[in-house]
């Protein structure tokens, strides 16, 4: 030990603990630091993406100009300075949306107010200048007039898009279903034609106008107005405007579906799929988990066998989730699903109905996976209830059922709730088994809609966790999708942390309550 020699100093100072005390303290600090680093990374990259940052106009030493948002800086590979990555958009003009620029080659960086950022349905972002707006009829607008006209037009455009969407969802879809069910009938055909005509008219009113754009490198392009989703001039926005835009961005991320192969848009279908699957799972796991726990703790003879079973159940919580996925695929999908198909859905064979992954099988698999969690938590709650409570109930003449339902289960309620919440938190983060039993990269239909039986258990669904995996590893342009993946990861982590915090608080509450209980 290094400080042994300082024996004289020891008399004055508090006793030394040697080097290991500091190394062990450092391991706690390091773990906490890593956790903070991870959460900080998710927070900054996930939330920062929605902030409409300033667009820089960079003039290089050789006279070339480019406009974009600075993303990050790196040292050059040969160590001769640093380079900066700009997100420049304009995939249709430049073929790429990124540009690495060596810092030494930059002559000047400015932030002109008129730089425009367009979000388009195809080709992603455009960054450049607005030259003119050419309406269907009437004179061409230029300069500031074009910008204010564009803003007004986009609001109107959004309203029309919404109208089309509503018409499609609420009028055409039910009519098509009816057509499939009842066959052709004059009335339906007429209604369908009328709706189609209305959509056609709305569509026609979308088109016509177009924007004349110019990138900072001088390339011109013409963009039909209907392709434009949003237009902004970030350099002209105040911080308050930016904050509002940030809020809007976050809201759209939560409420919209994805566009452009997951590089833009939101994650609403994935949120919906995750929540629906987890809800179904908790509906399945709660009664069965509680039943098994009550059996193990209250009914079964407390012998060697029960103890073994209890250890077995406890250890199933440690079995890898992928094994449950394998079980789900083999038993639920291929076994039960295959048989269901051959009995009830023969008409649509060989394309499987239940014989392929789907919502029902996914929730069943995850219910099985989380069953040990619920059983263990409930059992802990049951074991905490003092025996005199049970004996008191029985002494007053209650049967065992009455004792269970009136005394024991209400007292074990917080424990059950804790178990279910922990189960939900675990299920929300599991991805591996879902890859085998029913998650989809892009589900064409949401599992809930207005058609009988409203909840379609056989459909595939989207999931936040799988969305992260898929966008990060199977997407085309991972760099472009990265900010959205960070945002998705942050969302998933927040949901799971909230659930876990709730469970921790519940457990704490439970302990303090039982602390008072046993002092009777």
């Amino acid at each position: 030990m290094r400080w042994r020699r300082r024996d004289t100093a020891r008399a004055r100072l508090p006793r030394g603990e040697g080097p290991w005390a500091w190394l062990s303290a450092g391991s706690v600090a390091l773990s906490l630091l890593l956790l903070a680093l991870l959460l900080g990374l998710l927070l900054s990259r996930g939330l920062g993406h929605f902030w409409p940052g300033d667009v820089a106009l960079v003039t290089l030493e050789d006279g070339r100009q480019l406009a974009g948002r600075a993303v990050r800086e790196e040292p050059l590979p040969d160590g001769s300075g640093r380079e900066r990555l700009y997100r420049t958009g304009n995939r249709d003009l430049d073929g790429a949306i990124w540009d690495w620029v060596a810092l030494a080659a930059i002559h000047e960086v400015s932030y002109p107010r008129e730089l425009l950022v367009l979000e388009r349905r195809r080709w992603g972002e455009f960054i450049g200048r607005l030259v003119a707006l050419e309406p269907e009829a009437g004179p061409r607008l230029e300069g500031e007039a074009a910008w204010s006209a564009l803003e007004a037009r986009l609001v109107a455009l959004e309203a029309r898009r919404e109208a089309i969407r509503r018409l499609r969802e609420q009028t055409i879809r039910p009519l098509v279903r009816r057509l499939e069910r009842e066959g052709e009938s004059a009335e339906v055909t007429r209604a369908l034609a009328a709706a189609e005509a209305r959509i056609g008219a709305l569509r026609a009113s979308l088109g016509g106008a177009s924007l004349v754009l110019e990138s900072v490198s001088g390339q011109h392009s013409i963009e039909p107005l209907e392709e434009v989703v949003r237009a902004r001039r970030p350099n002209a926005m105040s911080n308050l405007d930016k904050l509002a835009a940030w809020g809007q961005g976050v809201w759209r991320f939560l409420s919209e579906g994805q566009r452009a192969a997951n590089t833009a848009g939101g994650v609403w279908p994935a949120i919906f799929g995750t929540v629906l699957m987890v809800m179904l799972m908790s509906l399945l796991v709660t009664p069965f988990g509680v039943l098994a726990a009550v059996y193990l703790n209250e009914v079964a003879h407390q012998g060697r066998l029960t103890r073994l079973v209890r250890i077995g159940v406890r250890n199933l919580a440690g079995v890898p989730s992928i094994v449950y996925g394998v079980f789900g695929l083999g038993v639920f999908v291929y076994g039960i699903g295959g048989h269901l198909d051959s009995w009830f859905f023969e008409a649509s064979l060989p394309s499987p109905t239940f014989g392929t992954g789907g919502l029902l099988w996914a929730s069943l698999t995850l219910a099985l996976l989380t069953l040990p969690v619920v059983i263990v938590a409930t059992e802990e709650g049951l074991a905490r209830i003092p025996h005199r409570q049970r004996e008191g109930a029985l002494a007053l003449g209650a049967t065992r059922l009455e004792m269970l339902t009136r005394v024991v289960l209400p007292m074990a309620m917080p424990a059950m709730l804790t178990g279910v919440i922990l189960a939900v938190a675990r299920a929300a983060g599991e991805v591996a088994p879902l890859m085998l039993v029913g998650v989809a990269k892009l589900a064409p239909q949401v599992p809930v809609d207005g058609d009988f039986p409203f909840l379609h258990l056989e459909r595939k669904f989207m999931h936040l966790g799988y969305h992260i995996f898929d966008a990060a590893f199977h997407g085309g342009d991972v760099q472009a999708a990265l900010p959205l993946i960070y945002a998705t990861a942050l969302l998933l982590v927040l949901v799971i942390l909230m659930l876990n915090l709730t469970a921790i608080f519940l457990r704490h509450h439970l302990r303090s309550r039982h602390g008072t209980l046993s002092s009777y």
Binding site: A25, V326, Y334, R400, V493, I496
Partner: protein
């Protein structure tokens, strides 16, 4: 209550009947649920058995699963996992690369996690202030709840590219952090007593964090220096030329770091339980005889709690072996058998996740993947059971020694 006798007996009988019925239902349901959960093992065994007792002659030789095979284009027989038809012949099923990948990933994650988790457990059992300890536990529980897909994503798309560019910085950090901590301890001893009370050892876990950030800054300065001094300016090239180690962007060390991070909380929680469960009379006796707290831990508490600590590590190993998403996203998924920690790997769990949806049910590939699942199941179940048995024994021993106080 004064009901008339006949209805009373009727009601009594009804209640009794209902009770018996409910008990029967609970029993049936409970046994059913438990049987369903246990059915996993049965299912896996039933599906795997046809590999070994085939009704028809098998299409692959079973020895090929664990012996090297002749591979077209190679002189010597080799281990290959190539489940889809390659252009030069049939599929090659050789399990050793997958087993190796699984064990390598688990081993590296334990290398990272065990010192961190056990150090943290020792510190919080010995030195940490009670208030901080009460907070630390839930925080680490939250860390445990972080989904694997998020950790894997960060490891594969943020950590791996970063490490690839800053290899020298990482090396410098590795070299600087332990001496830096010792230096912090040395400096702390030189502080005046008033300041020492302001920065007590019990809260060192918090106030060492800025110190670690400082170390990071120092490493950023030292890293390039190290690289140009010893490694000819490029650590990666030096590794490849001098040591012959290929560097894959997503490699075993990245997997180890990510999975180690994920496993730390579970090992910590169990090890801390074992250490703080040691009867206080033992520790107090040792300290009364003049031992420092660390000597108490090393000579008294650790021998008493060693089975518990071992079971914590075992449970960590079980988790690391079965973890799917982190390995899938951080490892590159190349089925290699090399001892090079900077090369990619492919684990059994990741193979199952990738290949099983495409494998034809009932086919050889399908059954082999199920065999992998069975191996995972058996391994984790055994390890967990063993750990549980050890912990039960330990608890009994503590009770005999005077009970947790």
């Amino acid at each position: 209550m004064m009901p008339t006798p006949p209805t009373s007996t009727m009601r009594q009988r009804l209640r009794q009947g209902r009770d018996r019925l409910a008990t029967a239902l609970i029993t049936a349901g409970g046994i059913g649920v438990i049987a369903a959960v246990m059915g996993i093992a049965v299912f896996l065994v039933v599906e795997v058995v046809p590999l070994f007792w085939p009704a028809e002659p098998p299409r692959i030789r079973l020895e090929a699963l664990w012996l090297p095979q002749d591979v077209a284009g190679l002189d010597a027989p080799a281990y290959r996992w190539q489940p889809t038809l390659a252009d030069d012949g049939g599929p090659l099923f050789s399990l050793p690369p997958l087993v190796w990948g699984t064990l390598e990933a688990a081993a590296w994650s334990l290398v990272i996690a065990v010192p961190l988790a056990l150090g943290a457990a020792a510190h919080s059992a010995l030195f940490m202030s009670r208030r901080l300890r009460a907070r630390l536990r839930p925080t680490l529980e939250l860390m445990e709840a972080l989904p694997g897909v998020v950790i894997g994503f960060v490891a594969g798309l943020a950590l791996a590219p970063w490490l690839e560019r800053h290899l020298a910085l990482a090396l410098a950090l590795l070299l600087l952090v332990p001496p830096g901590l010792l230096l912090a301890g040395g400096l702390w001893r030189q502080l005046p007593a008033r300041l020492q009370r302001r920065l007590p050892l019990g809260w060192a876990a918090l106030w060492l964090m800025p110190w670690l950030v400082l170390t990071w800054g120092l490493a950023q300065w030292l890293g390039p220096l190290l690289e140009s001094q010893w490694f000819a300016g490029d650590l990666r090239a030096w590794l490849e030329v001098t040591l012959g180690l290929d560097y894959a962007s997503r490699n075993a060390v990245i997997v180890g770091m990510a999975m180690g991070f994920a496993v730390v909380p579970s090992i910590y929680a169990l090890a801390e339980d074992a250490l703080s469960g040691v009867p206080r009379s033992l520790a107090e006796g040792a300290q009364a005889l003049g031992a420092t707290r660390w000597q108490t831990l090393w000579r008294v508490m650790l021998p008493a709690a060693s089975p518990g600590v071992l079971s914590a590590v075992m449970i960590g190993a079980g988790r690391a072996v079965g973890e799917t998403m982190i390995v899938l996203m951080a490892s590159g998924n190349t089925a290699l058998m090399t001892a090079n920690p900077l090369d990619g790997l492919r684990s059994m769990a990741a193979s199952i996740a990738i290949e099983l949806p495409e494998a034809a049910p009932g086919g050889t590939h399908y059954r082999l993947l199920l065999l992998a699942a069975l191996l995972l199941f058996a391994f984790t179940f055994l390890v967990n059971t063993l750990a549980e048995v050890v912990r039960t024994r330990l608890r009994r021993r503590y009770r005999r020694l005077g009970g947790p106080s």
